[in-house]
């Protein structure tokens, strides 16, 4: 069974994000970039499926500027077999990403597509679901367990009330949540080997998709900052402040 994994290059989650003084966006110049953490979990899950003999081939795809190839190489070092880079310097919004991935799905015909549930930059939580709708597939979003069983996949999902398990017909789309697995690190020999794995490059036009963003960002601002308050000496003072000063208990 072929598995397609989509990965996104984003700001490293440890970086303190700063809004640009002209309010046009956040400052990404000389900032450490990395694979979106939820995408790492997606790659790991695919690799585990391959180790179990469920997946036969893992294709990893990323959309974005040339530098995305770093994240594709990382996925290849973690165990993916080949990469597809859809290269563009334009901003790609979720619906367009889903359309691009749809044409990759049509070409590659994977049985399973695994994506992160959200990227930690735009925090949209949309692409996997949009891809599923456009390709007419079922979706197991916010997955914390994935069990492939013949022509079905059972996905346990993290939902507001707890956990919910659904059975999906294959092919299907899965989006990862934090508890699905703990991603491994790439070993040095595997990083070397990854450099030789195939990586196809194409443009949105090659896939017949025209980028036409529907949302425009008018401005980006820093959030209202909270003032640090006071330190209290002991529990009695804390309770007194909560009751008599803040009046919240």
């Amino acid at each position: 069974m072929k598995v397609l994994v989509a990965v996104k290059r984003v700001i490293d989650y440890n970086v303190k994000v700063r809004v640009k003084p002209d309010n046009t966006g956040v400052d990404l110049a000389n900032v450490k970039m990395a694979m979106n953490p939820f995408c790492e979990i997606a790659v790991e899950e695919a690799v585990r499926l391959k180790e179990k003999g469920v997946a036969s081939e893992i294709v990893v795809v990323s959309i974005g500027p040339k530098a995305c190839q770093e994240q594709i190489r990382t996925a290849l070092a973690l165990g993916a077999d080949r990469g597809i880079h859809i290269e563009t310097d334009e901003e790609v919004q979720s619906l367009e990403a889903a359309k691009l991935l749809k044409s990759v799905v049509e070409k590659e015909e994977p049985k399973l597509v695994i994506l992160g549930k959200q990227s930690i930059d735009s925090d949209n939580n949309q692409t996997g679901q949009m891809l599923a709708a456009l390709t007419g597939m079922g979706q197991g979003t916010f997955a914390s367990e994935v069990v492939v069983d013949g022509e079905n996949v059972n996905v346990t999902r993290e939902v507001d009330g707890g956990l919910m398990t659904v059975a999906l017909k294959l092919p299907a789309v899965i989006t990862t949540d934090l508890r699905l697995n703990e991603p491994r690190y790439a070993s040095l020999p595997n990083i070397m080997k990854a450099k030789k794995k195939p990586l196809d490059n194409m443009s949105p036009a090659d896939l017949g998709v025209e980028l036409a963003p529907r949302l425009s960002t008018l401005k980006v601002e820093a959030p209202a900052s909270r003032q640090a308050g006071v330190k209290v000496a002991d529990v009695a003072e804390l309770v007194d402040k909560l009751k008599n000063e803040a009046k919240v208990i």
Binding site: V19, T217, G229, V230, K241, A246
Partner: protein, 313 residues
């Protein structure tokens, strides 16, 4: 303008988040209809009809909607929503699941997790775990929007008198089936809408120790939350995670115990009115956002807190 709000419910009760979303719809302005899709959900339809500001309630009552499967809801909402200018749902796990499907089926963008309405086509939303706030304008003819419930004061539960109409539209995409669910049972208030939240982090050391927090929570009528580290370590279930990728809360009082205050955690609670923190590390970043900080070992401070609260409550 005409707005379709998709109700959030459990087939028997309307969730408060729906009232917050109706408030967001009011901020956009125009006629507001509510769609209740579920199974044996008549009572929810009745409740939605009483909400302030609602003109009409549409009830799609069928087994195919009973577990809110995104594939079926997506098709239903795309069909019903097609004649509206805006489609709104709460940014909970149900809305996050089916709404992007609706947007894709209608070939429009989705605006996720809005926290303010600037105008009928311009909305404010957090990005980068709330470290930046973006104002975005949509050029689509239908705006598909998920709403951060804590950012809008709910409309009144009573006072409205909308008409209720049954919808005979059955969409079974045939792609997914419900298998089972494990829902947390708790007599405490719902985490996402509780007035007070007491949360524990890795510092709690194990699940057993969360009992200390539960006792404090019960005295305060509070919900209990957790950091990702506490959930990952298996101390407590996933539905208790507060943060960028968990639940967003904005209670009157948030008490963080043994939580360092990583940005991903702050993203879920920094809109709380008052924040209190108990941490043994005086350098912990949580103190930079806490109104009241207590540098102490939680294993001493939490039992004391329980005793002090018993005295004053």
């Amino acid at each position: 303008m005409s707005i379709l709000v998709i109700a959030e419910h459990d087939n028997s009760e309307l969730k408060q988040a729906t009232l917050n979303v109706v408030a967001a719809a009011k901020a956009i302005g125009g006629d507001i209809d509510v769609l209740v899709a579920g199974e044996n959900c008549g009572a929810v339809g009745e409740a939605a009809a009483k909400a302030d500001g609602v003109s009409k309630v549409l009830v799609a009552d069928n087994a195919v909607y009973g577990h809110f499967l995104g594939e079926n809801l997506g098709e239903l909402v795309a069909e019903v929503g097609n004649s509206y200018s805006h489609i709104l749902a709460a940014a909970g796990t149900v809305g996050k699941d089916f709404m992007p499907r609706v947007a894709a089926l209608l070939d429009v963008a989705q605006v996720s997790d809005i926290m303010r309405v600037e105008s009928e086509d311009t909305f404010v939303r957090p990005i980068y775990a709330g470290n930046a706030i973006a104002t975005v304008k949509s050029t689509d003819s239908i705006k598909v929007i998920t709403v951060r419930p804590t950012a809008f004061d709910p409309v009144a539960e009573e006072g409205g008198s909308a008409t209720v109409e049954a919808l005979d539209i059955v969409k079974d995409a045939g792609l997914s089936q419900f298998v089972s669910e494990e829902l947390a049972k708790s007599d405490r208030p719902d985490l996402a809408s509780a007035g007070i939240v007491v949360s524990g982090g890795r510092g709690m050391q194990n699940g057993e120790n969360f009992k200390m927090l539960e006792q404090v929570a019960d005295l305060l009528g509070a919900a209990v939350g957790a950091s990702r580290a506490a959930v990952d370590a298996g101390f407590v279930p996933n539905d208790m995670q507060v943060g960028q990728t968990g639940k967003i809360v904005a209670p009157q009082l948030y008490i963080a115990v043994g939580i360092s205050g990583a940005i991903q955690h702050l993203a879920g609670m920094s809109d709380s009115k008052v924040i209190a923190a108990i941490n043994k590390d005086e350098e912990a970043p949580i103190f930079q956002v806490a109104d009241y900080g207590l540098v102490a070992d939680l294993f001493e401070a939490v039992p004391q807190l329980e005793e002090e609260l018993k005295k004053v409550l």
